[in-house]
Symmetry: C2
């Protein structure tokens, strides 16, 4: 979430936009990218590939997010980034131009730094979520995070936001087998608080879901809206 001033600074750079389709990679583990992107539309996901090809999703990016700002200062990528939906659009900024902008004055640099730090806070929450919570709580927490962030990005309409993932991907996010995802989803649905179907997440009873999830949005470090 950049300020108007930050956005103005970015607009002084020449950038281009690119569009991606579902499961299409923007960058791959091992790459050394020369550009960083900001999400304009649609959703992206970060994942790692293990020996044997197994995939672990790490985090998800909505409009306004910077999924690979760490690449400005780290060389080789330790993960891949793919688009989740059809027509995901990103703005591409060359690293050297961003570095120049950052070097010329702090505000935009601090803002991007801050973005990478909130990204890390989301990673911390994911460790705790996947390591210390029950299946149901874990899934509820994931839904709460996505929904809360989508709300902040003004992407919630009719208590619903887009979450273009298959159940198998949900499993590769939360560290559960596909069958377990399906059953856990069923048990959450039966609470009447949440529905996830056809790539859409609908939360009908936020308080109940947040209670199941033990969700506290503090870690997202949003300022008062």
């Amino acid at each position: 979430m950049l300020t108007a001033e930050d956005e103005a600074a970015l607009r002084t750079l020449s950038y281009r936009t690119r569009e991606f389709g579902p499961d299409e990679d923007l960058v791959r583990q091992g790459d050394t990218p020369q550009a960083a992107v900001m999400v304009i539309e649609g959703e992206l996901a970060r994942y790692q590939t293990l020996y044997g090809g197994k995939r672990q999703y790490l985090s998800f990016y909505l409009a306004g997010d910077w999924p690979d700002a760490q690449g400005i200062f780290l060389e080789r990528l330790d993960h891949s980034i793919c688009a989740l939906n059809d027509g995901a659009i990103v703005a591409v900024f060359q690293h050297d131009q961003l570095r120049g902008l950052i070097g010329r004055g702090p505000p935009i640099g601090y803002a991007i730094w801050r973005e990478t730090l909130i990204d890390a806070a989301i990673l911390r929450a994911a460790i705790t979520n996947n390591s210390a919570r029950s299946g149901q709580t874990r899934m509820a927490h994931f839904f709460c995070e996505i929904f809360y962030r989508a709300g902040r990005a003004r992407l919630v309409h009719d208590r619903t936001t887009s979450l273009p993932m298959r159940q198998s991907q949900l499993g590769e996010t939360l560290g559960m087998a596909l069958v377990t995802v399906n059953r856990t989803l069923g048990s959450l649905r039966r609470t009447g608080a949440v529905e996830f179907r056809d790539g859409r997440l609908c939360i009908t009873d936020w308080n109940t879901l947040a209670a199941i999830a033990e969700f506290d949005p503090e870690y997202l470090h949003y300022r008062a809206q």
Copy 2:
């Protein structure tokens, strides 16, 4: 891992050192610290506390690491940091002094930024480790990471490094019950590759352990030594 130039810049600041004992908190979840620390000696750990008091360890810090640099730009802490051993010593830098230093010129700012990005890479690896790997592989990977980082910090002697944790804390790191930790530790010990006892980690057969762990140090983003 800062350059000599970075260290010289830091020395222009007035800082003080503080010493902590085992399980003593440096900062707590919810705090708004005004200073950041660099580890001088001993080991620190980051952890989150869940509803009900359950604890999840997130990451560990050795000499030279910056465990709470994110606090320079994020207000409220989403986690706590404690010392693991007796006589853990840190250098304390006031945020406003660090911000001043960062604002005056990029090198040190970039270096600290980079530290926070490597920290995030370690968090990504932890998500994958705790979510997608078997108990044995997970524990082996954790040992490999600590040992590798300790090696880089010149803290390995006689194939052994200090890792002042109890088995219960290992469980709260890897998302396993204490009993499972004990048995997994036994099965690793029986491979003859590693021994963890009395707060000391001894790796006698690195290649075997790294193979069990599927360990690839790339994500630590070390430059050629």
